[in-house]
């Protein structure tokens, strides 16, 4: 008898990927596998992350699978797509669920194109029931709306789960998963994209920061961004920015928080002179506490904020820097 396989696929070393996100994808994968009476499998491409076996067990993973191949080490897409296509041909899963990182945004749809599958990225939830199509809820219009898609096409369905959309929940008393190494033949893959200059992570990443202080257009001039940097430093956090500051060249694009920037999850997010557009909130809405400083009492950011100050951030930031140092 063949069982329905629900596969959560993650890979180590991927840019922007966080282990907690892999765990969130496993929680969602488990929900689908329970609904369909299937078996939850976790496919790790590349080296097994530290603590992987414990995560697999508390997420109720039945089979922990691993693909390792030297060709996958370069981190480019051709080898990944080929490896996953071979895997799917052999195992015929019902669903391949990725936890979304930068590279997933290319690998997931390319895999769908290769297999003739339907694909949805930016997913926040999946509803599954026996004998009916999977229903995937995804974020659209930068977060202003949610859309529900039904997936048709060849199996597996391919879904990429947005960061911070699902809270990991563990199961009690699950058996430890069986472990399987998956063999793929990548000898014919010649990566068509050659990295000439690799990206260099400069310092700590916004994705991992516990405290972020971000500035927006309300700062009104590039010089004032230093107030944001100083407050971030005083609080032991990192500075971020809304997209207009990047577009205007005030700050480097690695500072951008939002839909097309960093998806962060700090304990504290201070937004100074930021209006709270959905595309910005997509990158900080998961913060445990948001502090908003804005001259406009009706600014949208106050709807997301835990604490608000209606006022001029140029006057308040220097005082906050002082108060934070006390």
């Amino acid at each position: 008898m063949t069982t329905t396989a629900i596969v959560v696929c993650t890979w180590s070393g991927a840019r922007g990927e966080v282990l907690e996100e892999a765990e969130a994808a496993l929680t969602l994968g488990r929900k689908v596998s329970v609904a369909l009476g299937g078996e939850l499998q976790w496919l790790v491409v590349g080296a097994m992350p530290e603590g992987g076996a414990e995560i697999a067990q508390r997420q109720g993973v039945a089979v922990l699978e691993n693909i390792e191949d030297a060709k996958l080490a370069g981190g480019q897409a051709d080898a990944f797509v080929e490896a996953l296509a071979q895997y799917c041909a052999e195992r015929s899963p019902r669903l391949v669920l990725f936890s979304q990182g930068f590279d997933t945004r290319l690998v997931a749809p390319r895999l769908a194109g290769r297999l003739g599958s339907g694909v949805v990225v930016n997913a926040v939830d999946i509803e599954a029931a026996a004998d009916s199509p999977l229903k995937v809820t995804a974020s659209a219009y930068g977060g202003d709306t949610r859309v529900v898609y039904e997936l048709a096409g060849a199996e597996p369905c391919i879904v990429s789960l947005l960061a911070n959309a699902v809270l990991p929940e563990s199961v009690e008393g699950a058996a430890s998963p069986s472990v399987r190494n998956v063999a793929v033949d990548l000898s014919s893959v010649e990566e068509r994209i050659r990295v000439v200059e690799a990206a260099r992570t400069e310092g700590p990443r916004l994705e991992d920061a516990e405290i972020i202080v971000s500035g927006g257009r309300g700062l009104s001039s590039p010089d004032n961004y230093k107030l944001v940097e100083q407050l971030a430093e005083a609080l032991g956090g990192l500075p971020g920015a809304s997209r207009p500051l990047v577009d205007e060249g005030w700050v480097d694009s690695s500072r951008q928080v939002g839909l097309t920037g960093k998806i962060t999850r700090p304990g504290l997010y201070v937004a100074a002179g930021i209006s709270g557009a959905s595309q910005h909130m997509a990158g900080c809405g998961a913060a445990k506490a948001i502090v908003a400083i804005n001259t406009d009492p009706d600014a949208a950011i106050f709807r997301y904020a835990r604490y608000g100050i209606v006022g001029d951030c140029l006057a308040i930031l220097p005082e906050l820097i002082r108060a934070a140092k006390k």
Binding site: F102, Y149, L151, E319, K326
Partner: protein, 268 residues
């Protein structure tokens, strides 16, 4: 060389955002379409920047034909804008499927590119600002057997047959080389798109986009079978519970906020 730029017409995302923030974004009786008829249609911002990327290649001396193509109900306005910006050919493709998904759109674009005898470079936006998916370019690349380079902030010719592309990754800029033909998706970091000159705008008013229908393209049933069906759209609710800090001076506001954050253990 031939550069094909794929552009999508979308609802102005800022207008959608303003409606959403005002709590006035509504879904129609079909349960999936935004009802605001006053929201203007625009060219997807990243796609306008993809045209810019093509024009920058031309400015840098590349001899190229720039062909802008759009799948949509009535893309004439966007195509005229593309023409005013400097596109050599503008083509509208009408979909035989009422609600084409990314797969159907990609099939139509691919069939058109094939009918042109192929392309050396296919430029797309990194994602459409309505669905935010960024799936179409990857599907085009798979179907045409071309490598796909995503989220580019600059595209140059490395030599006559290869591209040098800077990608904006979460870890910083990455520079890659890819042999042509290739698909490249453009991000906002490429910079603001230029404005068309008044003279070109005037000239473009008379431009009639070439209209291509499914009969002009050879497509089988599978190519036109959607895989992803939009069944519902809704506006998520945001629960506000903001505690406003009051005070008479910036110093007082700052002290009270920091005290409150420490009290609530948000700050140590």
């Amino acid at each position: 060389m031939r550069i094909v730029v794929c552009v999508k017409e979308v609802l102005d995302p800022d207008a959608v955002n303003n409606y959403a923030l005002a709590g006035r974004l509504e879904i129609g009786d079909d349960g999936k379409t935004l009802t605001q008829t006053t929201i203007p249609q625009l060219m997807n911002g990243f796609d306008e920047q993809a045209i810019e990327a093509a024009l920058l290649l031309r400015d840098a001396g590349a001899e190229c034909t720039i062909c802008v193509v759009s799948v949509g109900a009535d893309p004439a306005n966007q195509l005229r804008h593309a023409s005013a910006l400097g596109a050599d050919e503008v083509v509208g493709i009408s979909s035989p499927v009422a609600e084409p998904d990314a797969h159907v759109v990609a099939s139509l674009l691919v069939a058109h590119i094939r009918s042109l005898g192929g392309a050396d470079l296919v430029l797309c936006g990194r994602q459409a600002s309505d669905d935010d998916q960024g799936v179409v370019p990857a599907l085009i690349g798979e179907a045409l057997g071309m490598p796909v380079v995503t989220v580019a902030s600059s595209v140059e010719l490395a030599d006559t047959s290869a591209l040098r592309v800077t990608r904006v990754t979460p870890d910083g800029d990455e520079i890659v080389e890819a042999a042509m033909p290739a698909v490249v998706t453009i991000s906002n970091e490429i910079g603001d798109p230029r404005y068309p000159t008044a003279a070109n705008k005037l000239k473009a008013r008379r431009v009639k986009p070439t209209l291509v229908g499914p009969d002009d393209l050879s497509l089988d049933a599978d190519a036109l079978a959607p895989r992803v069906l939009l069944t519902q759209q809704f506006v998520p609710t945001v629960q506000g519970n903001c505690e406003f800090i009051s005070g008479d001076t910036p110093a007082e506001l700052a002290d009270r906020l920091v005290a409150r954050l420490r009290e609530d253990k948000v700050l140590p």
